[in-house]
């Protein structure tokens, strides 16, 4: 029981990060149909921003804020420079564009910053272990669970209680009609990217805090997982992305805990395979958007 609870907390922490990333992907996808490959590079940029802010002597909380600011700015810039020229194009075009942007950014990080990991000095207070009854939980894991839940709650409030949030939800349903209602497409899209950047930033900081270093390929693997999480949840469905993220986290943690040692190196392959086999039964994902296809 205790072991199970312990694993449950681990899964919440890992799945939460995937959920944040998948949610960031879904927010953008639901509005302009773009699967943003460069989402991982937003994570990496955040990591570098925090890293350099700390090197320049900023206190940790300020560095976090700076990192999030940089993440959102980078997301907005990305939209303005790279994705606006192809807005409205087919999903394939958008996908390839973001794939190219992601690859170019990686090479830039490698050349302009460093190809090697740079250590990030995370405050010692974050590396402790919290003991709750019989459970041991890393401080960072605990923070990551709390932050994830806070972000999900905050985003939910934003989407349901504010005008900008309602506009976003409406845009996800039918962007064309929203524009006819007189809302500016550019501002809705920009809001989506800003939110997506913020989510990537938060996930990036949590990721860096757990690993203690930043490197140019840092965002690649978690975002790959987030893609998978997003299609399992049903592409473009926000709640689906969160569900898919947690599901993938749970599957990974359970496989990690219960796979025989000889099979452990295959963990990621099993996880992806399991998740994709879900699609055999639910080709549209777990919580597919109810889009009415007008025949």
């Amino acid at each position: 029981m205790e072991i199970f609870l312990q694993q449950l907390l681990n899964a919440l922490s890992l799945g939460g990060t995937y959920a944040l990333l998948a949610l960031g992907l879904a927010v953008v996808f639901s509005i302009i149909g773009l699967i943003n490959f460069a989402h991982g590079e937003l994570m990496t940029v955040t990591g570098y921003a925090v890293c350099f802010a700390l090197i320049w002597g900023m206190p940790f909380p300020l560095a976090v804020i700076a990192g999030l600011g940089v993440a959102m700015t980078a997301a907005l810039l990305m939209e303005r420079v790279a994705f606006r020229p192809v807005r409205g194009a087919s999903g394939t075009t958008l996908l390839l564009t973001s794939f190219a942007v992601s690859a170019i950014l990686r090479v830039l990080f490698q050349n302009l910053i460093s190809a090697r990991p740079i250590p990030v000095s995370i405050p010692a207070s974050l590396s402790g272990v919290v003991t709750i009854g019989p459970l041991h939980l890393g401080m960072i894991q605990l923070i990551s669970i709390i932050v994830t839940l806070a972000m999900l709650l905050g985003l939910n409030l934003f989407l349901h209680r504010t005008i900008a949030g309602r506009a976003m939800r409406a845009a996800a349903e039918d962007f064309a009609v929203l524009r006819l209602m007189g809302l500016r497409a550019n501002s809705v899209v920009a809001t989506a990217f800003a939110i997506s950047g913020l989510l990537a930033g938060v996930a990036g900081i949590l990721w860096v805090a757990q690993r203690g270093s930043v490197d140019p390929l840092m965002g690649a693997l978690p975002v790959l997982k987030a893609f998978i999480a997003a299609i399992i949840g049903g592409l473009g469905s926000l709640s689906g992305a969160v569900a898919g993220g947690f599901l993938l986290g749970f599957i990974e943690v359970i496989l990690q805990a219960y796979l025989p040692e000889s099979l452990l190196p295959y963990r990621d392959a099993f996880a992806i395979l399991l998740v994709i086999s879900v699609l055999l039964f639910r080709p549209q994902g777990l919580l597919a958007r109810k889009t009415l296809v007008k025949l």
């Binding site: 996808f29 149909g33 699967i35 790279a82 020229p85 192809v86 194009a89 087919s90 999903g91 394939t92 075009t93 996908l95 390839l96 564009t97 794939f99 190219a100 942007v101 690859a103 170019i104 990686r106 090479v107 830039l108 490698q110 050349n111 190809a115 690649a220 790959l224 893609f227 998978i228 997003a230 299609i231 592409l235 190196p265 295959y266 963990r267 990621d268 392959a269 992806i272 395979l273 998740v275 994709i276 086999s277 699609l279 055999l280 080709p283 994902g285 296809v293 007008k294 025949l295």
Partner: protein, 597 residues
């Protein structure tokens, strides 16, 4: 037996001759470095053409083909590795594998590569083929990761992330050439086969393809496996070209490179894949020279790690921003240079048993989460007559059409098409049982030619030995589009697009035809032309028509029998004359008080 048309043969020759010439020139007249580059080019051609078979025809971008190359590389290398190295480099090889590993020739290795790539393609293709669009793309990405993780983790067989070495090198341009030629021919022939055309149709419009009898899942699966085999063969070649490699050689960088090769030329054509690959190979070779830092025009350039990736990335961006269909556009080179002779119409489009056909709606109801869209509706569509289905907005007309065509199964009741419940068979089988349909918002295969649009449907009902293109031409004759057969469908004027949709449905040799608002958006002249066509279809072919329409004048002119729906219920049925005078119908349309006045 796949259809190998004259055009496909022309296409194979058009693409093969330059490749053969290139290999001969490179091997006999050029320095060794160019010969090597040519061999590498031919290897990439096989790989990219494999990708084109799947992505180009289905429209789903694949990240997975580098994974097939990896499977092909390891699958062949295990068979051909020098036996003397086996015990040192792979001491823990499982016994069954150790028994067959090592010492074989490249061509035996190639068989191993095809076996591994083919098997894995089949297994992964089963779930993948059910996905569309971006979700399918991400699943292929998942495939790439699975292959990579598995190769790294299976250290006993693959040496994990360490270099796999000791593979006899010996892939010259002449060794790579036959594989490239087979791959190109496979891709070019597949493109024009029934399955290839059907998949291209599904790329343009999946729903319309299903309504034309295309089993989209099956066609995607076939293309995935064929493409996987071609890329797997390329992987085997690359392994024996390099002599040593590791899993990371077949990961994102390679994927990125293959993708730029595919889209620069244009992924919809084999010519595009072959041409784009050539340009990228040359570009990468030039950039790689600059990467290590060099002097250009007296200026010393610094070392620039990953310059090729930036170059490839920029090429992709330029293509996406400026020329989305790639340098070669949407048509094959051979289709431009040596266009085909005009097809003559042969074959009748009469339904085999139009007179005895039956389409009965029995007590059909449909609920959407509490909302009752249809409630206990029953009527019969008779062959040789035009039945009109009318009703105010929200009456349930579209739901009715979707229930009849099997797209939205009814919650209660049944629709019997010649005795078969349409909800009980797969949606793509309904059209093959004699039910054609058109769509409220035109759904054409926009980038296919007019003739191809109709051929897709003709293919799904043509008997063996019958020429479905001639049959398609016959259907085009009926709607008077035979002279525009070679035009792309999206270039037709609006009224002609509507008629093309009807021709496509007719090519299914239907006993019944569902027309969903066929006159929507038409001007009076176009409407008149449409009515003439519909009357001809009814009288000449004995087909039963079910027409949903808002234009009541058209309905009254055209129909023999009218069914009226309101708020999900059938409120009247009868001849145009009876309906015109039916008080309930008038009330439903214009309200109670006005009706009384």
């Amino acid at each position: 037996m796949p259809r190998i048309g004259k055009q496909a043969v022309k296409g194979c020759l058009t693409l093969a001759l330059p490749l053969i010439a290139l290999a001969i020139i490179a091997e006999f007249f050029m320095p060794a470095s160019y010969a090597r580059l040519t061999a590498l080019y031919l290897i990439y051609v096989s790989a990219v053409v494999g990708m084109q078979i799947y992505s180009g025809n289905s429209g789903i971008i694949s990240f997975g083909h580098a994974g097939f190359m990896a499977l092909g590389a390891y699958g062949s290398a295990l068979l051909t590795i020098q036996t003397s190295l086996l015990s040192t480099s792979l001491p823990n090889l499982p016994q069954w594998l150790a028994a067959i590993a090592g010492g074989h020739s490249l061509w035996i290795g190639m068989l191993g590569a095809l076996a591994v790539a083919g098997l894995v393609a089949v297994l992964f293709g089963l779930p993948l083929s059910r996905l569309s669009g971006s979700a399918a793309s991400i699943a292929t990405l998942g495939f790439l990761v699975i292959v990579h993780v598995t190769l790294v983790a299976s250290a006993d067989i693959t040496r994990g992330s360490q270099t796999f070495f000791g593979i006899p090198r010996g892939v010259s341009a002449f060794v790579a050439l036959p594989v490239a030629l087979i791959a190109v021919a496979l891709a070019r022939i597949y493109r024009d086969t029934k399955g290839g055309l059907a998949l291209r149709a599904a790329r343009e419009d999946e729903i319309a393809a299903r309504a034309s009898g295309v089993n989209v899942t099956r066609e995607r699966f076939i293309a995935w496996v064929l493409g996987g085999l071609a890329s797997g063969a390329a992987g085997a070649l690359l392994a024996h070209f390099l002599g040593a490699f590791s899993p990371k050689d077949f990961y994102f960088n390679l994927t990125f490179l293959l993708m730029s090769m595919l889209i620069l030329g244009g992924m919809t054509t084999v010519s595009g894949a072959v041409g784009g690959t050539a340009l990228i190979v040359v570009m990468v070779d030039l950039l790689r020279g600059l990467e290590g830092g060099s002097e250009v025009l007296g200026v010393a350039l610094p070392q620039m790690f990953g310059l090729t990736d930036v170059g490839v990335g920029i090429v992709i961006l330029i293509v996406m921003y400026r020329l989305r269909d790639g340098l070669f556009g949407l048509r094959e080179v051979d289709e431009r240079l040596f266009p085909e002779a005009k097809v003559t119409a042969i074959g009748a489009i009469e339904a085999p048993s139009a007179g005895k056909a039956s389409l009965e709606v029995h007590g059909v109801g449909r609920r959407f989460a509490g909302l009752v869209a249809l409630e206990n509706v029953s009527f019969t569509v008779r062959p040789g007559l035009v039945t009109g289905l009318i009703g105010p907005n929200g009456a349930g007309k579209s739901t009715m059409i979707n229930a009849i065509s099997g797209v939205v199964p009814p919650s209660s009741g049944r629709v019997l098409l010649n005795g078969t419940d349409t909800a009980k068979i797969a949606p793509h089988k309904v059209p093959m049982r004699g039910l054609g349909r058109t769509f409220q918002n035109i759904r054409l295969f926009r980038n296919l030619s007019v003739l191809e649009n109709v051929t897709v449907a003709a293919d799904s009902v043509a008997q063996s030995g019958e020429d479905s293109r001639a049959l398609a031409m016959a259907a085009l004759n009926v709607v008077d589009l035979q002279d525009l057969a070679e035009r792309p469908a999206n270039s037709l004027p609006y009224g002609a697009q509507r008629r093309l949709e009807i021709a496509r449905a007719l090519a299914l040799r239907p006993s019944f035809l569902l027309l969903d608002e066929p006159a929507a958006g038409m001007n009076p002249a176009e409407t008149d032309a449409l009515i003439a066509v519909l009357q001809k279809i009814r009288s000449d072919f004995g087909i039963g028509l079910l027409v949903v329409e808002h234009d009541l004048k058209l309905i009254m002119r055209l129909c023999d029998h009218i069914v009226v729906l309101n708020k999900g219920e059938m409120i009247a049925e009868g001849t145009p004359e009876e309906i015109r005078n039916n008080a309930t119908v008038i009330e439903a349309y214009i309200g109670k008080r006005r009706a009384a006045a």
